[in-house]
Subunit: 207 residues, 2 copies
């Protein structure tokens, strides 16, 4: 299993090399220090796995990965990140990187490389939970648990569209005062303060 290591920080790069070479299956066949190194080394050596830092001068790991994958779609690239609250995760997934793990997780790097080598994708720690689809997980909002009736839900939906009380009243054939009362009750039930918070609640919790 031939691996290339690319990291801005010489010390980190050497530490990684030591860790990887302690495993008999792995051979470190190249080392670089920035994204441009990564691209040229990759083309020259065509390793089994490219282990690369994300934040580097000259060319970021993300850009290097993009360039490499555009030419070698099956490239197995494992990116290293420093913090788990990393916003690059979606970009990395879009580019087609095979892994994205925390640099600090020394023990995890070897198994991650092996898994990537086998064609799997690996994501460190909390990183998976940062993927937006999952955050906007339906959250299974339950109207019953808030004791909201059908009409109240109608009204909430309209507030969530930015409608005024008068507009809501007209569309439901109610008086404006009635709508005001409904909203007052809804705010009480949901422990909210005003219609703006209700709109925010609707859009973030009920959609």
């Amino acid at each position: 299993m031939r691996v290339i290591i690319v990291d801005d920080d010489q010390i980190v790069a050497m530490s990684l090399k030591t860790i990887l070479e302690a495993d008999s299956e792995i051979e470190v066949c190249g080392c670089g220090n920035d994204g441009e190194d990564a691209v040229s080394l990759y083309k020259e050596i065509i390793p089994d796995v490219l282990l690369m830092d994300i934040q580097m001068k000259k060319m970021s790991g993300l850009d290097a990965a993009k360039e490499i994958i555009s030419e070698y779609p099956d490239a197995r690239i494992l990116l290293l990140t420093t913090f788990s609250d990393d916003e690059y995760i979606v970009n990395a997934l879009e580019i087609g990187v095979k892994g994205y793990i925390l640099k600090q997780d020394f023990d995890g790097i070897v198994p991650a490389i092996k898994a990537v080598y086998r064609g799997q994708s690996v994501f460190g720690g909390e990183i998976v939970s940062k993927i937006p689809v999952l955050k906007q997980s339906k959250s299974e909002f339950d109207a019953a648990s808030y004791d909201l009736c059908e009409k109240e839900l109608d009204i909430i939906a309209q507030v969530g569209l930015g409608k005024s009380n008068k507009e809501i009243a007209d569309s439901l054939f109610l008086s404006e005062g009635t709508v005001r009362n409904y909203i007052s009750v809804i705010l009480e039930k949901l422990s909210l303060r005003d219609r703006t918070q209700l709109a925010v609640f609707y859009l973030t919790k009920m959609c």
Copy 2:
């Protein structure tokens, strides 16, 4: 590293056991044949990793995973699937499963277990590309095209959280009247009527 194996098919379960036990770091400390086994074995043994088939009679691997994770949120569960075009992937991610790989990928299972044991998440083959996020284009809202300055964007974001003028004023060290004026200008620029519409705009177009 203590692992439980749960698979509908006795033969597969035994094969897996043989593969895993060939690795000196792994100890198979339990075997089951359906979701209910998985739940009871998990509670009894509390293994480091639970390796489980998805499709099983009595109780599916997905349901079992859900039940286990609701009680043990840190449970490391690796699900096995037969086909890579598997639609359960998003559900699995939402439930909080730590891995989802192809049963056929015999060579990949051991590294996958080790990576999961280290706290990483592993997804086999093409599975990652099935995650819907990747197809969603971000709205790419351009503040400049609406002629909004930095402070206005700050205020919009706070309206989008449901804050009152007073709260916004306090957080930005402005007077309430000033915030009112800012919002009045913002509404004009965005052709909106009130703060609720602004919150809706923010949440749907700017996030």
